[in-house]
Amino acid sequence: MSIDRAHADHAHEHPTWKQYKWVALWLFLITVVEVWAYYIPAFVASKAFVPVLLLMSAVKFTMVVMFYMHLKYDHQLFRKLFVGPLIIAGATLVAFLFLFKG
């Protein structure tokens, strides 16, 4: 829990235009693959469908958060402020799915 004045500087370390463009391209491509997968009945029926889709979604999520929201470059503090609640929200969601399964 050390919050100090280090890393206060962020403007200079932001990713560049090139990175932004690549991230956008990946976001687009993954979305295309997601929708494509949706239209393959055999794949939809398989056990791999849900995990694969969740994984792709998680990758997109992480990319936006890391690059567009600058969490990869910004102060540690922001990462803590975001990831902490995210974990609690995720755990609560999983608990709900479990509790309401029966």
């Binding site: 004045r5 976001l27 979305t31 939809v44 567009y68 975001f82 929200a89």
Partner: protein
């Protein structure tokens, strides 16, 4: 590192009337991240509810399956994947526009930057328009669902679907309003590096709304 820190602290003080902050970070940015953390729980609850109620509706229409009503009326699966894929794409691209708007504001006045990357006004407008387009898609989606017989009152799916996506749409609408406000300020007096923080917090909000949609798109639309 030391020089960099001092430099930012200096710029920061000029902006914030020499107010000292413990971390050297801007208060607004800490607050918006705390807010985003809080929003994780809000959308977590909405999504949980949607998933818990998935498949529990006693009458149709349903998201992914066709349904024949007791009176013999046939409803097709209601979710329209092609249209939503298009709106998803628009929202994803709006995030790209947003980072470019922020970069343009942060680098305003640097030699050669605007010519290469476009002005902050352009990108702010592009982001707002993309957001408005997304809202247009959503309005189309909602009205066509109502025409097909699914309202917020029809069944559990209708209630939880319209509430979840409606909340997201409201967030987008607030974001569009926010972007338009920034655009207005930019046109009136110009946004420069010292204003980067007010664009930054709007950008963080906007991207968060985008990542929420990434999750909704997968969990609500694609997974059956």
């Amino acid at each position: 590192m030391t020089t960099a820190t001092t430099a930012t602290a200096g710029a920061h003080e000029a902006h914030e009337h020499t107010h000292y902050t413990t971390t050297g970070l801007d208060n607004k940015k800490i607050a918006i991240w705390a807010f985003i953390g809080s929003e994780c729980m809000l959308f977590g609850s909405l999504i949980s509810t949607y998933l818990v109620y998935k498949g529990r509706s006693v009458v149709g229409p349903f998201p992914h399956e066709a349904w024949t009503s007791p009176t013999g009326q046939v409803f097709k699966p209601i979710l329209d994947i092609p249209v939503t894929s298009a709106s998803t794409f628009v929202l994803l691209m709006s995030s790209l526009f947003m980072v470019l708007a922020l970069a343009a504001v942060e680098n305003k006045g640097k030699p050669g930057y605007e010519g290469r990357l476009g002005s902050s006004k352009f990108w702010l407008l592009a982001t707002a328009l993309a957001g408005a387009t997304f809202l247009g898609f959503q309005a189309y989606e909602f009205t066509s669902f109502v025409h097909e017989g699914l309202t917020i009152k029809t069944n559990l799916f209708g209630s939880s679907f319209f509430t979840l996506t409606g909340f997201h749409g409201t967030h987008v609408a607030v974001g569009v309003l926010w972007l338009m406000t920034l655009l207005f300020i930019d046109m009136k007096r110009g946004l420069g590096p010292t204003d980067a923080i007010i664009v930054d917090i709007c950008a963080l909000y906007w991207h968060f709304v985008d990542v929420v949609w990434i999750v909704i798109f997968t969990l609500v639309y694609l997974i059956q």
